[in-house]
Symmetry: C2
Subunit: 370 residues, 2 copies
């Protein structure tokens, strides 16, 4: 690999259900990323990648113009809910290949994103909303591991609890087990508070080469592992409904590249689009053994140790599709820099990001280290 | 640069005004790319990038599934009319950085692409169709270099003439000067036959690393120069209306990287979205001196030497936005491989692709060699 690639700066917006123009969201998180890095000048930025499911065209050129950047490389990246980490890996490759030294990745979405409905998948019949695959995952996981709804609700309890300390979180509200169990029933197996909520939000991150990054930050965080896999687009092509094959493969690759084992990871951002996703992902990436993911969730609640989804995950923070993977990566970066304020966990050295799309038919896993 | 990157295979669809599903277009050109390369197996393809302005989501995962590929990396790339070369450069960076050895880039568009109207640019007022910037470019170029409409029409004559030998071209029809001059008047300075036409079409290309490519083809074409620049998104931020600043910068970078001069280039694909674009681009990339681009066009007509836009350019071939940059790159590849059949020019060694977006506010230039 020609160049080591690190994270030099980042900026966020608050997550909300507000009706804000996509360009304004992109600009706000990007402004914050510049403010967070006094040595970063617009002329340093050689590539601008926008991550979104928004239908507006040429957003990367628009963001460049309104933020005063004249990049070499500029385009939008879309892969539904893991657009953000796809764009980060693309930025990584521009730097590692020598085509750019500093890359801005800006993710943004509106509450009414067209990426919320899985239109292309005819095998789903009329069941095109993600809640239907989540419902089948839940049914399958419950049956395979003899799990009750009350146990799955612990994910929602934990992640909403953790989101209280995230100043950008959508709701910042705790829920009791009763409130979750009695929230609106959406399918046989899912209640409203088992679901993350699409929202309006932005997250920008600046990646830089080894030679450039020391000029920009005194606490760089390095991307030391990358794993990606797309197994299919259609839900029904999943090999199993109680594990995540693309996540398993991606985590294997990322851990191998970083030369670490799953049990060495200190802090994790997991793609908890629905309650069942958290134990399934923990098991698929190898942090828990099969069927044991919820034990780790329970342990974290009992010990009040938020090592999984410290910002509250997608359930607690909200899920602005194209921004999610970037927001996850920012959280791990802040944790490794000991800049996560009241969310800070104790002295983490190695972090992991897990970001996926559409019933885990595609996953990205990143390993970060400082 | 860690790895040299070459073109291993390619496939096209016919360009038409047909109502074909975007997934079907992507699949057809991709099938042709596999058929064109007997040693290429689905399992070799580690990244699938889709280039399009189509609003459908997750197309890269969909294309992967229907063509039997399970890639690591997969997402869509959008930058209006230079989406195609943006995706090719992204594929290049994945290979050069060592993240992938073989990458499929598939571009596709429908005749009714939402990328045809420049919605974001409020500085255009109601004049959001590209024909309005082209009209101002034409007016400005005519005034600055004392050029008549009849001279600009030579671009249309030449490129439609050259498209006759392109089996995939949209119209394959020659036009006389009278026919062009008397075609429907669209603005003060533009007639219908001064314009390229959006269409339905697909183009797929397979890039591979130096270590892998010899297994796939015995006539690899290498990407030896890359230049990209986005100067703005808004038309009114152009420094001049009679030259293309982003194209000038991109060509300089690409030529410098390839260690060649503009006068060493043997064959060129230029982004002739409108008649005036061909002389302007020739001048901006340094092949002609200022105001002299049309002299080269005349010379090519007189000598019947199609070294610029041998497949007929955008005007003769049609312009399926997200596929155009890939189709241009395929044409130069075929020319360098001496596989361009009746379009073949005499023994070219170095080729150049010029692909741009939205009044040349963004450009990509590639240098190819065998």
């Amino acid at each position: 690999m020609a160049n080591k690639v690190g994270i030099a700066s980042y900026g966020m917006t608050k997550f909300s259900r507000d009706d804000i123009k996509i360009e304004s969201i992109l600009l706000e998180s990007t402004k914050n990323a510049f403010q967070n890095c006094s040595n970063l000048n617009q002329k340093d930025v050689e590539a601008v990648l926008v991550s979104t499911n928004n239908n507006s065209k040429y957003l990367s050129a628009v963001l460049s113009e309104i933020s005063g950047i004249k990049p070499k490389i500029s385009h939008s990246v879309e892969s539904l809910c893991n657009s953000g980490t796809n764009a980060i890996v693309s930025a990584y490759s521009y730097i590692a290949s020598g085509l750019a030294d500093v890359v801005l990745v800006a993710g943004a979405e509106r509450y009414d994103s067209p990426g919320q409905v899985l239109e292309w998948d005819n095998s789903r019949g009329e069941f095109k909303h993600p809640i239907f695959w989540a419902s089948i995952f839940t049914k399958s996981y419950k049956r395979e591991y003899n799990v009750r709804d009350e146990e799955l609700a612990l994910v929602s309890i934990k992640n909403h609890h953790q989101s209280i300390k995230n100043p950008n979180a959508l709701t910042k509200k705790e829920y009791t087990l009763d409130e979750i169990m009695n929230s609106k029933k959406l399918t046989d197996d899912l209640k409203l508070l088992d679901c993350s909520r699409p929202c309006t939000g932005g997250a920008s991150i600046v990646l830089a080469s080894e030679n450039t990054i020391n000029h920009l930050t005194d606490s760089p965080v390095w991307i030391t592992g990358i794993g990606q896999k797309t197994t299919s687009a259609s839900f029904t092509k999943n090999i199993t409904f109680s594990a995540m094959e693309s996540s398993r493969i991606s985590a294997n690759s990322a851990l191998k590249m970083s030369k670490h084992k799953a049990d060495q990871i200190d802090v994790i951002e997991l793609h908890d689009a629905f309650s069942v996703c958290e134990p399934m992902a923990l098991e698929s990436i190898g942090v828990s053994s099969k069927g044991k993911g919820l034990e780790l969730v329970k342990e974290m609640i009992v010990t009040d140790s938020p090592k999984i989804n410290p910002r509250g995950g997608l359930m607690g923070s909200g899920h602005p599709l194209g921004a999610t993977g970037i927001a996850q990566t920012i959280e791990i970066t802040q944790q490794l820099q000991s800049k996560a304020e009241s969310r800070q966990i104790d002295n983490p050295k190695i972090g992991l990001v897990h970001n996926m799309s559409a019933a885990s038919t595609s996953s990205t896993v990143l390993v970060l280290e400082n």
